[in-house]
């Protein structure tokens, strides 16, 4: 039974996961016993009381008050146990410790942005310390999203008109997947991020260096890195296939026909404008739903993307 339960659940990587899993196990085991009890009873009845002849006479049993009370009261006791257990776990899940490390999460269709206390931010990657409570303070720029990390057993909707919060304390270093679990349109299933759990020293070090730009990296490489880290890959392909947005292959220098009928050349400044104010010049045939990267990308990343796109010619 334990192995089945272990197979059914993702690894436990937060302090709250084991309590949730224990309740999961309790309900599965007691539910299984109850279920088998009912099914075996039915099986016995079907075999023992199968129709022997068309003239079978059956006894008249209309009700039994003791039985009715028993199968009302016993389930009530069971559900009260389950309710209290779930309630206790929920209190923990909704009460972040006061000393938690805070990260501001901003969701947009379809990317995650994480802002750290000391300034600096990452996209679709979040770095957190192990063995230390981390609190996400979340808001959405457009529709409702939901932040879920199965390894930590947490989930919370991200709303456009207010802050919501969730917290966890990771118990081991490594990587976990972060999903968007509230349906948000075309790129919903691409709206994933990676949670990097680092040791305390590594995290401090990452805060010092990881957010800084590597000055020696060639611009096109910065662009390639940004292409995935900023979530461009959710909507734009590199091989010419159409996704939500146009492919970036052979984009640079081509004529773009816009929804208003005018034509512009995709030069450096057009790409820059498309990142800062994407809704202003939308290519005909594509939806106007790209989020603005104004303030999300620094100048070097924008330059990098332009350099990267320039090279994409076949």
């Amino acid at each position: 039974m334990n192995r089945i339960i272990e197979y059914m659940l993702p690894p436990q990587r937060s302090t709250t996961a084991s309590d949730v899993d224990s309740l999961f196990t309790f309900i599965n085991v007691s539910g299984f016993i109850l279920f088998m009890g009912i099914m075996i009873t039915i099986l016995i009845f079907v075999i023992k009381y199968r129709r022997k002849s068309e003239d079978d006479v059956t006894p008249v049993i209309t009700h039994n008050s003791i039985l009715e009370v028993a199968w009302t009261v016993i389930p009530i006791i069971l559900i009260l146990i389950v309710f209290s257990w779930g309630f206790r776990g929920y209190l923990t899940l909704t009460s972040p410790p006061a000393n938690a490390y805070e990260i501001h999460v901003s969701a947009a269709s379809w990317l995650w942005q994480f802002q750290y206390e000391g300034g600096g931010s990452t996209m679709n990657e979040v770095y957190v310390p192990v063995d230390r409570p981390v609190k996400f303070i979340m808001s959405s720029e457009d529709v409702i999203h939901s932040l879920a990390i199965p390894d930590f057993r947490i989930k919370m909707d991200v709303l456009p008109n207010r802050y919501t919060t969730t917290w966890f304390q990771a118990t081991e270093t490594g990587e976990s997947i972060l999903y968007c679990t509230e349906y948000c349109g075309t790129g919903h299933s691409e709206m994933l991020a990676t949670v990097h759990v680092l040791s305390a020293e590594d995290f401090e070090e990452w805060l010092e260096t990881g957010l800084e730009v590597d000055e020696d990296m060639p611009l096109a490489d910065v662009g390639e890195q940004t292409f995935t880290s900023a979530g461009c890959n959710a909507c734009h392909s590199l091989d010419g296939t159409d996704r939500v947005g146009p492919s970036l292959l052979n984009l640079f220098g081509s004529d773009r026909e816009l929804v208003d009928g005018s034509v512009v050349v995709a030069d450096e400044d057009y790409i820059r404008r498309s990142l800062i104010d994407p809704q202003a010049e939308v290519t005909a045939g594509y939806p106007a739903n790209m989020p603005s990267y104004s303030g999300r990308l620094n100048e070097r990343q924008i330059d990098g993307l332009i350099a990267f796109i320039k090279e994409l010619q076949d």
């Binding site: 197979y7 659940l9 993702p10 709250t16 309740l23 999961f24 599965n28 539910g31 009912i38 099914m39 039915i42 079907v46 009381y49 199968r50 022997k52 059956t58 006894p59 008249v60 049993i61 209309t62 009700h63 039994n64 009715e68 199968w71 009302t72 389930p75 009530i76 559900i79 009260l80 389950v82 309710f83 257990w85 779930g86 309630f87 206790r88 776990g89 929920y90 899940l93 457009d142 529709v143 409702i144 390894d151 057993r153 947490i154 989930k155 919370m156 909707d157 456009p160 919501t164 999903y179 679990t181 509230e182 349906y183 948000c184 349109g185 075309t186 919903h188 299933s189 994933l192 996704r243």
Partner: protein
Amino acid sequence: MADSSQKTLRIREFPIDENPGHTYLNHEKGILSWLFTVDHKRIGLLYLGSVILFFFVGGMLALLLRTELLTPAQSIVDADTYNQIFTLHGAIMIFLFIIPSIPAALGNFFLPMMIGAKDVAFPRLNLASWWIYIFGALFALYSIITGAVDTGWTFYTPYSTQTGTSVVSMTLAVFILGFSSILTGLNFIVTLHKLRSPGLSWSKMPLFLWSLYATAVIQILATPILAITVLLLAMERILGIGIFDPSLGGDPVLFQHFFWFYSHPAVYIMIVPAFGIISELISTYSRKTIFGYWAIALSSLAIAFIGFLVWGHHMFVSGQSELSSVVFSFLTFFVGVPTGIKIFNWVATMYKGSIDLKTPMLYALAFLFLFTIGGLTGIMIGALSINVHLHDTYYIVAHFHYVMMGGTVIAMLGGLHHWWPKMTGKMYNEFWGRITCGVIFLSFNMTFLPQFIMGSQGMPRRYFNYVDQFQGLHQFSTIGSYLLGVGFVMMAVYLLWSLFKGPKAPSNPWKARSLEWMTSSPPTHHNFEYTPVILHGPYDHHKPMKEFRMGVAEESESPDVIEIDKDPA
């Protein structure tokens, strides 16, 4: 001689005409005699045909979804098309198939017959319900053609107010369909109150009718809320009035409250009629009095009532206050109690019965298996801390398919086979019936059991692409869904065969005791050629059959006439 305060009724047995020349099927001819009929039986069949058509459409869409999910990346459709398909699958199955399925099709046909009435209280209103339903369906079709909806059947704001697809016509369709539902419910309530035959007290009413009564109450009280909600949504989209959209000053979570205030009770509109069918089947095929009649009847009403107080359990991670979540979780568990009571009473009914594993009984047993799993996994996701993990994952998808399909659809199939001889006058093939039931049962589990595991592992729902680790389980589920499709094709084949070539059905092939079996198969235009009088309960298998065929005797008739108290205590 009785005095005037204590009226007596002269009754006699009315033998059943086993070979009626004149039935409701040949009473009038031509397509118009069907489309504009006010006969509840024909309207029931119109509904049955319509819901089967939409079940077929919704089912094909489901197979498309499952095919796309064979691989983690794009295979046959693109992301937008996938999103439109799952929205249509959900919306069609919920609004066009499952809500009208049992009450409007089987309920329309059998409710008047089971109380010995000629028709429902308002036959023209009944026809209007069907036409309103068809208009609603046409609007839904229109929205598909003009650019399908991609919001999911839940229409969550602000996504639904911002997406470019034709949400307004789809919500208008839902608005119209709601009226059809309300009118049917109203008709049933009045009919049950006013048109019961002499002797048919509330305590002698078949449990199927108790369940339809509870359903009708929910339909009348909850559906207007849905109408108001979709109207507000349409006003926001057309007139730009800020109600739900935060950019206009609205609150998106308010929409979820409105939506689930209807849609949670609607879950009981879908499942409670199924409970009623199961009560009929288990008693009939065990040939035994139902155990705990009042427990089963009143638990339907209890579920209908508690069902209004638990909508917030869809919103544990939505941003509603923690206190609300706790209260809703607490109340949610109390739906489990009356539901459990029903299951225990059904099992107890089989004790010392004479169990005949005919196809309808196999469906009833399949229901007990699948619905119990659906119910127990409901306890799982009612628990707050676990819900946080399982919310919006495939665990939820699996849970509601076990309840809605494993519960309602399986019960409806049981009812369809049980009443098939009465509706069509033909017998279906018992051998193929049983085989098909087995195929559907096994392939259903194959399709949806893996989804519990995927969900527990964290697979989110409504995902077009997914991470590679889930591929094996997804493929297993897809193969199951294909087999499920094969099962339904098999059923279509033998039922069509039965319709045209099947042997003639006797009036009461199952030796059931409720009133619809006390007339010919198929029934005559007015169901009964006399006014039935009810002496015994609908599950009194120990009473002689002839005492269930009593009717009011004419003044002139003298032989075999008995005089009884008109209002027995």
